[in-house]
Subunit: 115 residues, 2 copies
């Protein structure tokens, strides 16, 4: 679906507000479960658009990374949504792979108020 | 549902990583639509827990704010999910109110790749 780069749209994103990074929510396009939250810079978003796989900027490791580059749990991005302020994104992904390094389907597997 | 404060759980949250703030994804508990992304500090999360309404820290206005305090579009928080790194949250809300200042149901009403 992501067949060409819409540079003018990426140009509108607000990279200034948070030192070049934009938070990205990864959501399962089928179940609508939220799988993870990570950060992307412009190059990560461009790589996502070019390759169709989810790319991010790792703040802890200070490097670009493709989700699944080590684990194999690649996330195929079917669409990208942007919010009204152009400062956060949703990657809509089609994947049954675990998103969490713990092996869980989602990183959000804990409730603040466990029963 | 949020009847008592689990201080020990809030204590585990990583407020150091991003200068006291944690990104919060607001998700409709029924439709699972993502409505908005904002930031919360410890007091905002405590207020959310105490009142059952969604509170945040406004980075642009540099103040605490309850969602809907001006618009009336309050978001009732039914549950809070935390991710594996304890550095991002999901507020699961039960509300049919528009979340976006534009009047849209969700702030994420634009696609990076409009058809």
């Amino acid at each position: 679906m992501l067949v060409k780069i819409h540079d003018e749209f990426i140009d509108k994103l607000d990279f200034v507000k948070r030192d070049g990074l934009i938070p990205v929510v990864v959501q399962d396009i089928k179940t609508k479960d939220i799988l993870m939250l990570a950060y992307a810079n412009r190059i990560a978003i461009e790589n996502t658009v070019k390759t169709g796989n989810a790319w991010f900027w790792s703040v802890s490791r200070n490097k670009l990374w493709m989700k699944g580059e080590e684990s194999g749990n690649i996330q195929e991005v079917k669409d990208i949504l942007v919010d009204c302020d152009h400062d956060s994104l949703i990657y809509l992904v089609d994947s049954n792979n675990p998103a969490c390094h713990t092996g869980n389907r989602t990183c959000f597997h804990n409730r603040l108020y466990p029963d």
